[in-house]
Symmetry: C2
Subunit: 328 residues, 2 copies
């Protein structure tokens, strides 16, 4: 039997976890938990039951790691510390500013229960964070740059949809090529918000709506668009569905640093992702860290961990000997 | 007092370690050890002594981590296991095929002495290996690609210099742009040696030497050049010194993988380095792992470790709280 996994919440992320588990033969999906009526939820994996969330705690002995697929705004701040009382857990909490308090709450719960809770797993926070840490440790004398995109921002798409007269919309965050090139050149540029990213909106307007007003309202929206060069395209609902229904994303983490007795040499470390599906990639990272959570727990560890605290060897299904032989 | 570091061997790598230590305020250089007459070796750091290698073992109580800067062909297979009897050690052993046996030898010595030995630290093996592991763990269904360059290959430059009639020479390994683009497109191409890299040689010929014969001999040299498209430029010694005395390098680690219930989504993970100085960057990685070796030893760990076995948090001078707050 493989590592027994439970999925808490069955939206895009939960479905992504399910798909990732199919590719990892040392793990198996035991159950999916939902707040909806379980009878109304159909999952992809044959023979795996869907239960109501209220039944989760009863499954304590049947699940090695519970993967929490809720949102960071309201779900995870409550769920992760709660389920860490009963299970090893992994979440993708991504509200950067609130990570320290989330860590403390999960750490207290997981230490009390003797379980492992891995938080903020995914690509940012997650793989991007790891690359920031490695690059900072290697080049202490340097500058960090993170660019996002080209990809769909859910928050900005939601903001568009709240504008009066808008039926639907999608927003792409796009890194500015010339800014990327300046960073890669080692010039250590100081970049403003506007210089780093542009925003491109595809908007379906209601019939008869004032498009000029909608466009102006989007472009001048504080926090979301006002600090960026934003373009707005009005398209039909059919076109939106045909060309903008994917959830691609990605981005770049770059550190530019100097070495040498007189700082005479420049080095560029760059990590980039180009993702067809943001939730499926995030899920794939989470599943690797679920394996780590299981192994750390087996070793007798407990408490809250982040990607910073976990040695890479714990993530791979291959043995340490195989890894040294084939990947080192 | 900071972490007390010894440098064993003072060539390009030893000097790189010395430069890196200058940027890491929690570490201090205690001594440099050389096989030469110490009186003939001048180092950059004021007030730090240079000793003969034979005096190293006496310094056991004054050095927290000994960094071994010898070569992988003959020095490190002997030195690392020997000094692991007395010190926490870090090396940059880079003969990929012999890593398993080197690991076993260092592991036995370090376990017996209760010290930590970190081997094969640098960028390949090292950061490239880490990125191969992370990307493989995240995308188990995919293909790996490693490209090197543009950079100076010491081994190929040495091979050029062994050709009769050659006074001096430098060889650059260059990744083929179209191959990189094919990989980034997610097409999972099967690439031959010739399709991945080209080799460019800058050669200073002896006066009156037969340049056509030299060029043919280089281009047809088995293992080194015969499997590549190679170009040979004859230049003057002055030009070689003016334009080709640096030791730049770099490269790309790319994994292309599929996710989704029917493998419908493609993801590209790319890590790249652009380095003005290969030995200084390698040194910067080693110094971060020397910090880790010290901390692991303080925790009571012992034995051989690689970059796979060490959690990222051990590499940074910042506290776990600061890292979570600022880099996660």
């Amino acid at each position: 039997m493989g590592i027994r996994i439970g999925i808490m919440g069955y939206g895009n992320l939960g479905r992504g976890i399910e798909c990732a588990l199919k590719q990892n033969k040392d793990m198996e999906l035991v159950a999916v938990f939902t707040r909806r009526n379980p009878d109304t939820v159909t999952i992809l994996t044959e023979g795996v039951p869907v239960y109501h969330v209220d039944d989760a705690v009863k499954m304590q002995d049947k699940i090695d790691v519970m993967i929490l697929c809720g949102g960071s705004a309201t779900d995870l701040p409550e769920q992760t510390k709660m389920y860490a009382q009963y299970f090893n857990v992994v979440d993708s909490f991504d509200t950067h500013a609130r990570i320290p308090e989330h860590f403390e709450a999960v750490d207290a719960a997981a230490k009390a229960s003797g379980k492992v809770g891995v938080i903020s797993v995914g690509w940012d926070p997650g793989m991007f964070s790891l690359n920031r840490l490695y690059a900072n440790a290697i080049l202490p004398n340097g500058s960090d740059y993170t660019f996002w995109g080209k990809g769909v921002s859910q928050g900005h798409s939601d903001a568009i949809r709240r504008v009066e007269g808008v039926l639907d919309g999608k927003q792409y965050t796009i890194p500015v090529d010339s800014a990327l090139e300046a960073v890669r050149s080692g010039k250590n540029p100081e970049l403003t918000t506007r210089q780093k990213h542009t925003r491109e909106c595809f908007v379906v307007a209601k019939e008869g709506a004032d498009k000029a007003r909608i466009e102006a309202e989007i472009k001048n929206m504080p926090n979301y668009f006002a600090d960026y060069d934003t373009t707005v395209h009005f398209i039909s609902m059919d076109e939106l569905k045909a060309n903008h229904s994917g959830i691609p994303h990605g981005g770049f983490v770059i550190r530019s640093g100097k070495t040498g007795w007189n700082e005479e040499n420049t080095h560029i470390i760059e990590y980039s992702l180009k993702l067809d599906s943001n939730p499926e990639f995030t899920s794939s990272v989470i599943v690797a860290y679920a394996r780590a959570a299981y192994r750390l727990s087996k070793e007798g560890q407990s408490g809250c961990k982040t990607v910073f605290d976990i040695a890479p060897v714990y993530l791979s299904a291959q043995s340490p000997e195989e890894l040294r032989k084939h990947l080192l």
